[in-house]
Amino acid sequence: MGGTDQSYLFLLVMGVVAVLFCLTPLALARVWALLVSPAKPGDEKNAPYECGIRSVGEARVQFHSGYYLYGLVFLVFDVEALFLLPFAVAYTSLPVGAVVAMLIFLLLLVEGLVWAWRKGVLHWQ
């Protein structure tokens, strides 16, 4: 048996030990439960909500597709804030080219804002 085969054998042994290490406590807990602790599930006990109130309605709620506009505007401000902070921190040591590139990037985002403004998204209904 060569050296490479041996290393794969170790891997196999380690895998088996890892699986047993996880399964043994679970099996012991199950044996203990069977011996002295009978399981008593019920409607209240299995209820998914944990604050004492019965859950109402469906978990799968659909949002109106018109919300994509809010999503876009959020993205504009979010990405802007994300990039402006490191930009401001490193501002004094930036070369001119980087500042210009950053300004172009900002302009692109502002363009999105102008588009949203003209479309009337910013008016609260």
Partner: protein, 206 residues
């Protein structure tokens, strides 16, 4: 094992125990309470968990925000009739073995608000209470005392046999009926399996 032999062995430095004692020692040494306060008693409960009184000395500092992970429900405060079904439902959602400490006059009997139209006159009408602490509110030392009493109770619980606790019997149901809001009172007004009013015997004699 004979108690005398056990004493002799322990004098020689040999510690003997039973599976039941070991199990109960583990259970009573890490009673996790539900993070659940209803009124002013909850402030004392919080004080008991902080550095000055330090409930962690008794292994009960892990206040769980979910009933699924809790062993002990400390009913700390006034239980209104609006809140009572929620308390019972939370108790139902706790895994066995579970225990209840009724903390303060309100949780025991309604306390100073007993005459109120919307105050439950004791949480023991719906769930089995293991320890009652009087006081309005009880000091944190009283809560620690209740915890020690609960630990004594857990230590004495047998795992098998006729006198084993409720949750170890397979045929006893694990959930307690949740009361519903009625037009005037909770329906039903009490759980007869858990609580019955004290019997008043009036005689003409004397």
């Amino acid at each position: 094992m004979d108690e005398g032999l056990r004493n002799e062995l322990s004098k020689q430095g040999v510690f003997t125990t039973t599976l039941q004692e070991l199990y109960n020692w583990g259970r009573r040494s890490s009673v996790w309470p539900l993070n659940f306060g209803l009124a002013c008693c909850a402030i004392e409960m919080i004080a008991a968990s902080m550095a000055r009184f330090d409930i962690a000395r008794f292994g009960a500092e892990v206040f769980r925000p979910s009933p699924r992970q809790a062993d002990l429900m400390i009913v700390a405060g006034t239980v209104t009739k609006k809140m009572a079904p929620l308390v019972v439902r939370l108790f139902n959602q706790m895994p066995e073995p579970k225990y209840v400490i009724a903390m303060g006059a309100c949780a025991i009997s309604g306390g100073p608000f007993k005459q109120g139209y919307n105050v439950l006159k004791g949480i023991d009408r719906y769930v089995p209470v293991d320890i009652h602490i009087p006081g309005c509110p009880p000091r944190p030392e009283a809560l620690l005392h209740a915890l020690l009493k609960l630990q004594e109770k857990i230590a004495a619980q047998p795992l098998t046999g006729e006198h084993r606790p409720r949750h170890l019997s397979p045929d006893v149901p694990g959930e307690f009926p949740v009361p519903a809001y009625g037009p005037y009172d909770l329906q039903p007004a009490k759980n007869d399996d858990v609580w019955r009013p004290a019997l008043v015997v009036r005689t003409d004699a004397g």
